[in-house]
C-alpha cells in the first residue's frame, strides 16, 4: 500500500477513520449527492459502527475506504475499493461535495485508477452503476466493458487496456502535453 496520507493534485488522500462518521453521514444523507447510492440510515452511531467494522476489513487488506481533502484539510469526498482479491476488486461509494475545482472528479479518478492498477496491481476493476445514473453510465462506457445488467444496475469491468486509455485521457486534462 502507498504511504498515506498521499499528497497528489493539490489534494490529500487518507483512509477513513471512525471520526469521519459525521462527514460521511452528511454526504450519504444528502438527497442530491446520494440519490444513486443505496440508502443510509441517518444515525451517527450506526455509521461509526459501520466504519469500525470496515477497519477490520481494511486490516485484512480486503477493503480500503478513502477520504480526500483540500490542502487545508477540509474534507471533500470519499471513495471505496472492496472485495479485493489477487486479481480484481470492486470500486464504488464515490461521493463528493460540490467544489469550485472543476477537475476534482478527474483528480480523484486518476488517483483511484493508479491505486487500483499500479499499487494494488489487480487486473480487473468491477463497478456497478444504477441505471438512472446517466452521467456515470456515459463516463464508464468510455473505458469499461459491460458485463451484465439487471432491473436496477449495469455491471461493468475495466481491464488494464481500459486503464491505460483512461490514464492517458485524465493525465492529458490535468497535465496537458501541448
Amino acid at each position: 500500500m502507498i504511504p498515506l496520507p498521499a499528497y497528489k493534485f493539490g489534494l490529500i488522500f487518507r483512509l477513513v477513520e471512525p471520526g469521519d462518521a459525521g462527514f460521511i453521514l452528511s454526504l450519504r444523507t444528502n438527497a442530491r449527492l446520494s440519490r444513486h447510492l443505496s440508502p443510509t440510515e441517518d444515525n451517527l452511531e450506526v455509521q461509526r459502527k459501520w466504519i469500525n467494522n470496515y477497519k477490520e476489513r481494511e486490516a485484512k487488506g480486503t477493503e480500503y475506504y478513502f477520504l480526500y481533502s483540500d490542502k487545508d484539510n477540509r474534507p471533500i469526498g470519499v471513495f471505496r475499493v472492496y472485495n479485493i482479491t489477487k486479481d480484481s476488486l470492486t470500486s464504488g461509494s464515490w461521493l463528493s461535495n460540490p467544489s469550485e475545482d472543476a477537475l476534482i472528479a478527474a483528480k480523484t479518478d486518476l488517483f483511484l485508477i493508479e491505486l487500483i492498477f499500479e499499487e494494488l496491481k489487480v487486473s480487473k476493476c468491477f463497478i456497478d452503476v444504477r441505471k438512472d445514473n446517466k452521467k456515470m453510465i456515459r463516463y464508464h462506457n468510455m473505458f469499461f466493458k459491460r458485463l451484465a445488467e439487471d432491473e436496477q444496475n449495469i455491471y461493468f469491468f475495466m481491464d488494464r487496456e481500459g486503464y491505460l486509455r483512461k490514464h492517458h485521457f485524465l493525465s492529458e486534462i490535468l497535465s496537458p502535453t501541448k
Binding site: A102, A106, K134, K135, E172, I173
Partner: protein
Amino acid sequence: MNLETFVQEFAEQFDEMPADSFSGSTQFKNNEEWSSMTALLIIAMVDQNYGVKLTGDDVRKSTTIADIYHIVHTKAMS
C-alpha cells in the same frame, strides 16, 4: 463546426435541464447540475466529436458555452 450544434451537444451532458433551455450565453457553472463529473463529460464530448483536448484551464477560464465553443474552434483550426 457551428455554435448551435455545439450548444446542443453541450446540453446533452446535462440530464435534468431541457436541452432547449441552453444557448451560447448560458453560464453553465451556475446550473445546479454542474459538477466536476459534468466537466469531465464535456471534455470527453469535445475530444470525441472535435478531436480537441480541453484542459482544466480552458474550463476554469470559461463562463459561457460560447466561451468553450471559441476555445474549441480555435484549437480545431490550429
